[in-house]
């Protein structure tokens, strides 16, 4: 196992390169891409089952001793997110297969998709801060290329803004790495954890932690850094926005979790009030943003911000319960939101628009599609028995039981707004008399949307298993010494 | 002995570099400055590189140094030539002391005989 899980980086890289070389042969390209994604998913599943018993797999680059060379590590959290990313990307690839029509654009799509996957999975499995930066850049570069896939006016503008904002984030990241290296002279996460613990939360360490919070906030769209998200998620081609909302933002969340639990636990305790404030602002911004929109995808984008606020809130509680809730929320929201964005794409196929003003009466015209969307909206609004309800419930429980009454109360209060926008959006979409004729959509599209939406129900009715797992994950990541010793023993 | 020679070469080379820069500052217009820049820098580099090759006492380094010198002598004038022509075409702001300007006349004549609208800016 230790030997094969670097494949999560190498396999997509090889596949992507190969796919670009054979880009002229569309059939071969697509089949190989699907095959690789399937293999990836299987590997992720194996890793998940292997980490279930709490072992942390460590792969040392070139067998160099512990803190010096790059070390890849996979614990439960990593395995979970790997499964998440590979399954969602797979579904989106299937979707794209019958969604993208423009041949000229298609040929670059699959290679870039695999590079994107490589970047994300690299971020998940690396345990080296600078290596994390590198994989961030891989991921971002792929998204820069994929976001503005058709390069119309909107996409160009969006891609440009997105690129600029993320460049600032990268610079901040390097600043953070520099500060850390200057202070403790290492870049391996576990080693950093050890030495920072020795150093204690000096002001400089706290400032560094703050910098990292903001760096990862850009990916995770926490309040001041969320500005790129609405356009990026609503303008980019649908499969990409699904991946963005489903996995990419989770990369930021994942990194924040690692910082909070492994690298700077002490510093985060000092930062906690500010973090909670940021989370509430994020929730507020997301909720506020959904209200005046008329584009389905844009509403979904803002609701992503809203949900990310809740996830980050769970993390900011810095307790095992909060983290478990956050992990549950991450998984649930990933499948749910990508399902809904793909659903928006499905409706674009059917009606040729994502503008709610031009939709309506879908309940009669496309019952199955509107049923899928209904599941999504109910889950987003936090209604039982779907994942959304349990996710919110667990976060709120953690908050209340921790005595953060006011903050949790505010977070709960914004539930009213999410109630409002979800139901009105569904009404404007499914009820009423507006909208024109409805076309047809391929089986691949319906299949992928249904596949992803199914999780909203599965993890709702089967919340038991997911939450058990989330607690296992939380139990593991709240004990950084496990992670550290796993590396030490090999080093 | 060779050390002393190397030292002299180094000092001389960098001195000429300095001269070039001073000339760059003092001389009145682009063309005059180019005189200094081209000649002195090339010469200076030559000196420094020779010095280096003397110090290293190494076939590879020597060859490299010589090649570099050769290359500099080859390119510096070309560059100067290109720049000065371009500079003139941009607007021949010759300094006040300038006495003759045959080139200007030549260009005028060229303009007169064939009106060719320049076609740039369309990718």
């Amino acid at each position: 196992m230790n030997a094969i899980f670097p494949l999560f980086v190498v396999l997509p890289l090889a596949t992507g390169t190969f796919l670009f070389l054979v880009r002229k042969n569309r059939a071969l390209q697509e089949s190989v891409s699907m095959l690789a994604l399937l293999v990836n998913l299987i590997l992720a599943g194996i890793l998940l089952s292997a980490t279930a018993d709490g072992t942390i797999f460590v792969h040392r680059m070139g067998l160099w001793p512990f803190p010096y060379a790059i070390v890849l590590a996979a614990d439960r959290l990593t395995a979970t997110l790997l499964c998440l990313s590979s399954s969602i990307v797979g579904a989106c690839a299937v979707f794209a297969g019958s969604y993208l029509t423009d041949a000229q654009r298609k040929e670059a799509f699959h290679p870039l998709l695999h590079f994107l996957l490589m970047g994300m999975q690299g971020c998940f499995i690396t345990s080296d801060l600078f290596n994390l930066f590198v994989f961030f850049e891989v991921m971002l570069m792929a998204t820069y290329a994929l976001l503005g896939f058709y390069y119309n006016l909107d996409q160009l503008e969006m891609a440009f803004k997105y690129t600029c904002m993320n460049l600032i984030a990268s610079a901040l990241f390097l600043l953070g790495v520099a500060l850390l290296y200057a202070q403790v002279g290492t870049v391996n996460m576990a080693d950093l954890a050890v030495k920072i613990k020795l150093l204690g939360p000096t002001p400089l360490i706290v400032v560094t932690a703050l910098i990292f919070v903001f760096v990862f906030s850009v990916k995770a769209a926490i309040f001041p850094m969320h500005l790129w998200l609405p356009s990026a998620h609503s303008i980019s081609p649908t499969p990409i926005s699904a991946i963005l909302a489903g996995v990419l933002v989770k990369v930021g969340i994942y990194s924040i979790i690692r910082c909070a639990t492994l690298i700077f636990p002490a510093a985060f305790l000092i930062l906690q009030p500010g973090l909670i404030l940021l989370c509430l602002l994020t929730i507020a911004m997301g909720a506020l943003g959904t209200l005046p929109q008329t584009s389905l995808k844009r509403i979904l984008a803002y609701s992503t911000i809203n949900q990310l606020g809740y996830i980050a809130f769970g993390i900011a509680l810095l307790s095992q319960a909060g983290l478990a809730a956050a992990v549950f929320y991450i998984v649930g929201h990933a499948y749910l939101k990508s399902a809904m964005l793909l659903g928006a794409g499905l409706n674009q196929k059917l009606t040729g628009t994502v503008d709610l003003e031009e939709m309506g009466g879908m309940m009669g015209k496309a019952p199955f599609a509107s049923l899928l969307m209904l599941v999504g909206f109910l889950s987003l609004a936090g209604f039982p028995p779907f994942t959304g309800f349990f996710a919110k419930l667990f976060v709120l429980q953690a908050g209340f039981s921790q005595g953060a009454i006011l903050a949790t109360g505010i977070a709960l209060g914004f539930g009213v707004i999410s109630l409002y926008y979800n139901f009105t959006t569904y009404q404007r979409y499914a009820w009423g008399t507006g909208g024109g004729e409805v076309g047809a959509a391929g089986a691949g599209i319906y299949g992928s949307v249904a596949f992803l939406s199914a999780f909203a129900v599965i993890f709702g009715l089967g919340a038991y298993w997911l939450f058990e797992w989330a607690q296992l994950v939380a139990a593991q990541i709240t004990k950084p010494e496990l992670y550290i010793s796993a590396m030490r023993d090999l080093g | 002995m060779s050390e002393a020679l190397a030292a002299v070469l180094l000092l001389g080379g960098s001195f000429f570099m300095l001269v070039a820069s001073i000339g760059l500052i003092r001389l009145p217009d682009v063309y005059c400055r180019m005189h200094a820049a081209t000649k002195a820098t090339t010469f200076g580099m030559g000196g420094i590189l020779l010095g280096a090759s003397l110090i290293f006492q190494n076939a590879a380094v020597t060859t490299q140094a010589l090649l570099a010198i050769f290359f500099l002598f080859l390119t510096a004038p070309v560059a100067a030539h290109l720049i000065s022509r371009a500079a003139y075409k941009r607007g021949p702001d010759l300094c006040a002391e300038t006495t003759h300007d045959e080139y200007g006349k030549y260009l005028e004549g060229q303009k007169a005989e064939e009106e060719s609208p320049e076609r740039y800016g369309d990718a």
């Binding site: - | 570099m17 682009v30 820098t41 290359f71 560059a79 500079a87 075409k89």
Partner: protein, 89 residues
């Protein structure tokens, strides 16, 4: 002896870099700036060569070679620009 020479020449190079840089900033015309930049590049080459001597590192000599080429390319491109500068600026 060599060391002293290198030190002195480094100082001189520094001064010339400074002067060239002043010209670069002052302008006045873009052509002046290009000339200054060209000189600057050559100066940097000199500095590198001196470093090669100081740190007995042959690598730098190749660098000089490569950079000579590169700076020439740069200058050429600038010249090309100045040619059609009337339009661009």
């Amino acid at each position: 002896m060599i060391e002293i020479a290198v030190q002195i020449s480094l100082v001189m190079m520094g001064a010339s870099v400074l002067l060239a840089f002043i010209r670069l900033i002052k302008g006045p015309t873009t052509s002046d700036r290009v000339v200054a930049a060209d000189t600057l590049a050559t100066n940097v080459l000199g500095v590198i060569a001196l470093f090669a001597i100081q740190t007995h590192n042959k690598l730098f000599i190749i660098a000089v070679l490569a950079l000579a080429i590169l700076s020439f390319v740069g200058t050429t491109v600038y010249a090309k620009f100045l040619e059609r500068g009337k339009i661009i600026e």
